[in-house]
């Protein structure tokens, strides 16, 4: 009977090109879907549209000049990208960062995680088909955070604020009050998204049970960040290999159970609440005044020969910098280990067998930033 029907309707698989100029691919990512009717049979991703050679460029720059390029590898969480880089340089040069600078770095990185996740929530809302509303909600909350970053560092996205050894200059005098004000509005924003999505039957029906990946597969693909934690793997660099002052604050590693799209969303939402908790603890423990740079800094920083791999927990996962020095004032080799590239490898396994609209949702749930994938 089935064979007869197949003969009656002579079907063939169709290749659909999604991107690179498509709003749902979150940047210039192109994927070719092989579809059988509405079902995805194969996914062929194409990357490299945003490749600028940042790693190679940094080899011609001294350590201070490289900071600006690190911003541009991860434009939604530039503080985290800078942090990995300057910490790798500090590790090589043996610089001791003053305590207050570490607290400030930690607060800014967590605030950056909030702003990045707000961006995710907004864009993910659009992916699920809720046009406009959640995107503008996310934008609104992110704007408050970005205004704060602008007051401190002077720029809205490409901060260039961390330096090997500490910070470029001190934070504003009303820093603590401003941060408290902003995280209060962020907490309200998280509540808004919680009310908008978490129990919404349409949203749950749309996201539960699709894009499944098991813990074993997620580990095999080298995923990290909220994408792997949603599969139930409690992997968090902040807890496993504490950098800055993360060993002195109390926070939970949020994990999911099902490893589906909804869990990846829920993990991020819960993680934002943890971030707010971390920021509050940091504000209590941070001194009001104090040095932010070591007392004796050379005019031109040189590092002894050696190599170092420094990893930090960026909003999308493990952001690592592998730095080799041959004793000069610039890296001999710089390699960026980006979380998005590894997370993206699992895209095919997660989306084969789903409908086309769900494949878009799976891509959205990984929360890719293409500048980080291509560098």
């Amino acid at each position: 009977m089935v064979t007869e029907r197949a003969r009656e309707f002579d079907t063939q698989d169709l290749l659909i090109n999604v991107g690179p100029q498509h709003p749902s691919t979150h940047g210039v990512f192109r994927m070719v879907l092989e579809v059988d009717g509405e079902l995805v049979k194969d996914v062929i991703p194409y990357i490299g549209y945003l490749h600028r050679g940042a790693e190679k460029l940094c080899e011609t720059m001294d350590y201070r000049q490289g900071i600006g390029f690190m911003d541009r590898t991860e434009y939604l969480a530039a503080f985290n990208a800078e942090l990995s880089y300057v910490m790798a340089v500090e590790e090589l040069a043996g610089l001791e960062v003053p305590e207050r600078a570490q607290w400030i770095r930690m607060i800014l990185c967590e605030l950056n995680r909030l702003s990045s996740h707000f961006m995710f929530l907004g864009a993910f809302g659009v992916d699920t088909g809720v046009m406009g509303t959640p995107f503008i909600y996310g934008w609104r909350e992110r704007e408050m955070l970005i205004d704060l970053f602008e007051e401190i560092s002077g720029d809205r996205m490409m901060y260039a604020y961390f330096r090997p050894g500490g910070l470029a200059w001190d934070v504003t005098r009303n820093f603590k009050e401003r941060v408290r004000e902003v995280i209060k509005s962020s907490a309200q924003g998280i509540k808004d998204f919680d009310g908008l999505f978490t129990e919404n039957e349409i949203f749950v029906a749309r996201t539960k049970g699709i894009g499944y990946i098991s813990a074993e597969d997620a580990i095999d693909y080298g995923m990290s960040g909220p994408s792997i934690r949603a599969s139930g793997v409690p992997l968090d660099v902040r807890r496993d290999e504490p950098y800055l002052k993360y060993s002195e604050v109390d926070f939970q590693v949020v994990t999911g159970q099902h490893g589906d799209v909804f869990d990846r969303y829920a993990c991020r939402l819960q993680e934002m609440r943890e971030s707010i908790k971390i920021i509050e603890q940091c504000l209590d423990k941070m001194a009001d005044t104090g040095p932010i740079m070591p007392e004796k800094m050379p005019r031109m920083l040189r590092t002894p020969p050696g190599e170092v791999y420094m990893r930090t927990e960026a909003p999308r996962g493990e952001y690592g910098i592998y730095l080799v020095s041959n004793g000069g004032n610039r890296p001999y080799r710089l390699k960026v280990r980006s979380a998005c590239l590894s997370n993206l490898q699992a895209l095919k396994q997660m989306s084969v067998g789903l409908y086309v609209a769900d494949a878009i949702l799976v891509l959205g749930s990984i929360d890719i930033v293409l500048s980080e994938v291509d560098r």
Partner: protein, 162 residues
């Protein structure tokens, strides 16, 4: 059904919020003091000449090589009957704003506090039709500071609040 009702309530509750948007071209957001637009040169109002001596420090430190600097002997120096103590002074200076990535390094390395990031709206609204028009010469770079239309913020590396 309960979830959808809750979701709609969330949307409804935003009706009572104050709007956060602005009528942009008509209403400008006040910029913070540290705001970074493109770099410009500062004018020494006391002696009536630029602070810049053309020492090439910023040119060498610029990661994207967007600057070109040429110096000359100062015609206003004390040894030739002038009022200035600057032996050398800037002759020609170009910054290609299209290349600049606003990293603030030129401000950090300047020994004479002669360069600063523009923290006014003029530094942000400078769209032109031709990319060549974004190469600004010395007169253009000095104009705003010479007219006293900027309150610059020149940080020292590692400066604290004390």
């Amino acid at each position: 059904m309960k979830g959808i009702a809750r979701s709609l309530m969330t949307t409804l509750s935003t009706f009572s919020r104050k709007p956060v948007t602005r009528d942009y071209p008509n209403v400008h957001k006040p910029l913070p003091e540290r705001d970074r637009a493109f770099p410009l040169l500062l004018w020494d109002q006391d002696i009536d000449e630029p602070f810049c001596t053309g020492c090439h420090a910023c040119e060498r430190a610029c990661p994207v090589e967007c600057m070109t600097v040429l110096m000359k002997d100062n015609p206003n120096h004390k040894t030739v009957g002038g009022t200035s103590t600057r032996r050398k002074i800037i002759d020609k200076f170009w910054i290609d704003y299209a290349r600049c990535m606003r990293c603030n390094i030129c401000v950090e390395v300047c020994n004479f506090d002669a360069i600063a990031m523009n923290n006014t709206w003029t530094g942000h609204e400078m769209s032109v039709h031709d990319r060549k028009d974004l190469v600004i010469d010395l007169q253009g770079l000095l104009a705003q500071s010479r007219a006293g239309a900027i309150k610059e913020w020149v940080p020292v590396l590692g400066q604290t609040n004390e």
